[in-house]
């Protein structure tokens, strides 16, 4: 197991290195001065210019420059934003929690509704129920997310007036950021309006989280269904049936834990698509997260913001997908069989 973890760590480092390499190459291609693209300082003074040249080793060859670039980025120096003149790292740490909050809510919605529905689809004998669930998931899989988001906000936000459609919280509430997660911060805040602020924040997150949950939800339903159908045909399920166990016990205790393993793997493979979805959803609902920050960065050609955002998101995705792979191996002894054999 130790050897396996070491190999995964190795993979993580190698993939991240290639990713930073791609980013470094792209930085060189940006249609601005190299110093500007690297630091975000538009017209550096003479002393700044010397400093930049020293930091990024601009007088040496490409390999040295890459190492210097890596050093700067890993030590947290992402440059300053061209438009706001703030440190990119600071801005990033301000927008990351909001994205996390949205992602966690969407994941909770997707799993809480997706797993039961997937089990229902696999167990139901009615052709109608099965077909309805499959039709819903296939439509959810195919719908363009920006269009869905627009329509949800039009229906629930404008026509019915039930839910707010933009932002994280009503601007009337002044909440001091402690953790960065709005739902937690409102609960932690000591003002007398804390509870109503929490409710407001909860109302704000419903629409974006639901929109974002559509794709993971369909993936969960479909993979749960196929995994359950696989598992229910196996001999240990028949043995459990022969022992006279109740169907619900069999499904909950014997089948479902086994079926969730491939679901986890599927979710891991879809992380990139989820991230793309999240960017669009954040744009539509003006959610102050990484996605809308990055897109406004590209509208303003804010090259340091683009680099910092892509670096953070891609590193996160690499890390999460390797984490999911490791978890998959931990939970599934069968996949450990060919662990040491091939590449």
């Amino acid at each position: 197991m130790f050897k396996y973890l070491l190999r995964r760590l190795n993979l993580f480092l190698a993939t991240s290195l290639v990713m930073v390499g791609v980013l470094f190459y792209a930085t060189g291609l940006f249609p601005v001065d190299r110093t500007h693209a690297l630091t975000g300082i538009h017209t550096p003074t003479a002393s700044q210019l010397v400093q930049i040249e020293q930091d990024y080793k601009l007088d040496k060859n490409q390999a040295w420059q890459f190492i210097a670039y890596l050093q700067q980025r890993l030590s947290g120096n992402l440059g300053i934003s061209v438009t706001s003149h703030q440190e990119v790292a600071e801005e990033l740490s301000a927008v990351l929690p909001a994205s996390f909050e949205l992602a966690v809510m969407a994941a909770i919605i997707a799993i809480c509704f997706g797993v039961p529905l997937g089990v229902l689809a696999s167990q139901s004998q009615h052709k109608l129920t099965q077909n309805t669930i499959m039709a819903i998931t296939l439509t959810g899989y195919s719908v363009p997310v920006f269009w869905l988001g627009l329509y949800l906000s039009l229906w629930f936000g404008v026509d019915l007036g039930w839910l707010p459609i933009s932002g994280q919280i009503n601007l009337l509430y002044e909440i001091k950021p402690v953790t960065g997660f709005m739902l937690v911060d409102t609960l932690l805040s000591e003002s007398e309006y804390g509870m109503s602020a929490f409710k407001d924040a909860l109302l704000h997150i419903i629409l974006p989280a639901t929109t974002l949950a559509v794709l993971p939800f369909t993936v969960v339903v479909r993979s749960t269904r196929s995994a359950m159908m696989n598992v229910m045909n196996q001999t240990f399920i028949r043995a459990a049936e022969a022992r006279g166990m109740h169907t619900s016990t069999i499904i909950l205790r014997h089948a479902l834990p086994n079926a969730l393993i491939p679901v986890l793997k599927h979710l891991g493979l879809m992380l990139g698509s989820f991230a793309s979805y999240a960017i669009v959803v954040e744009m539509i609902f003006s959610w102050p997260g990484v996605g809308s920050w990055l897109v406004s960065g590209i509208y303003q050609r804010d090259y340091t913001v683009i680099q910092g955002g892509i670096l953070a998101v891609a590193l996160l995705i690499i890390f999460l997908s390797i984490l999911i792979e490791v978890l998959h191996t931990v939970f599934n002894p069968l996949s450990r069989k060919d662990l040491y054999a091939t590449s």
Partner: protein, 296 residues
């Protein structure tokens, strides 16, 4: 007249025939296939049958609702947008931008991915590892972020969407082809063929590939639907197709200003995207279940 049966034994359908029989037994998948054929025709001949040019503005027919509405006219079948442009014609002109572009991107990505994936799958050891995993790093950059990077380097435009989505899709092909070639290579029938004296090229083409085509086909359908959604999303964010272009995602973005008064300018292109992706997913699903008994 059906052919007269002389012999007792049943005719055994070829594998391809069996897949087709399985596939066509599913009415939804067949409907999807017809829709795709229809879309292909529109992609090729849409601009010819469109009643208006895509950018023709009619100041006397601004924000006209679709023809089934009491105040709509048949001349503008699906209504007009805020500049008086005919939505039906724009949809027809946009088909080759959204759907045709997606096909083009997928074919290119498939070709590149096929070469790299099969090469790295057939090789062993470090070389295979490097070739196979090199592009895995690109896999971790979501397609939209890749597009943002490409736009930052080359500026927005429909040609750059080709590169952005293509670069995002190619590693998926590389990975799936690499994995399935690698898996097949371990199996015993390959060893048997090798003992019969087949060289690497023959093993690759005649022994392994027939078992890998299914993976390639399924991956292709997945990639086409992903490509359409990506192109449309980029058009919507105006990072891809730019404002007057009749690309479907860009049409949604252009209709957004009048969402409350003229929702059809957003609904109709959105539905067009939804149905084209849905039909491709239906075919993909049908293919997967038709191929499943053979694969297992």
């Amino acid at each position: 007249m059906p052919p007269v049966k002389i012999y007792q034994e049943d005719q055994i359908a070829s594998p391809t025939m069996r897949v087709w029989l399985n596939f066509s037994a599913n009415p939804f998948a067949l409907a999807g296939l017809w829709t795709i054929a229809f879309l292909l025709l529109l992609t090729l001949f849409g601009p010819m049958i469109a009643p208006f040019p895509p950018e023709a503005q009619d100041p006397r027919a601004l924000l006209l609702p679709p023809s089934w509405d009491p105040s709509g006219t048949v001349a503008h079948f699906l209504g007009t947008d805020d500049l008086g442009r005919d939505i039906f014609s724009r949809l027809l002109h946009g088909a080759h931008l959204t759907f045709g572009m997606a096909l083009l991107i997928v074919v290119t990505a498939l070709f590149t991915g096929f070469i790299i994936g099969s090469l790295s799958g057939m090789m062993r050891g470090l070389k295979s590892s490097i070739l196979g995993h090199l592009l895995d790093a690109l896999l971790s950059i979501p397609s939209l972020l890749m597009a943002i990077l490409v736009v930052a380097v080359m500026g927005p435009g429909l040609e750059n969407v080709f590169w952005a989505v293509g670069i995002a899709l190619t590693p998926q092909f590389v990975r799936s082809i690499h994995q399935s070639v690698h898996e097949e290579l371990q199996k015993e029938y390959v060893t048997a063929a090798r003992l019969d004296g087949a060289n690497s090229m023959q093993i690759f083409w005649y022994v392994i590939m027939p078992n890998v085509w299914e993976v390639v086909i399924i991956q292709t359908t997945l990639a086409i639907s992903a490509a359409i959604l990506d192109i449309a999303a980029l058009g919507f964010l105006s990072l891809g197709a730019q404002a007057p272009s009749p690309e479907w995602g860009a049409m949604v973005a252009q209709g957004m200003d009048n969402l409350l008064t003229a929702p059809w300018a957003v609904t109709i292109p959105g539905l067009a995207i939804l149905f084209s992706v849905l039909s491709i997913n239906l075919v993909g699903d049908g293919l997967r279940s038709a191929l499943a008994p053979i694969r297992n």
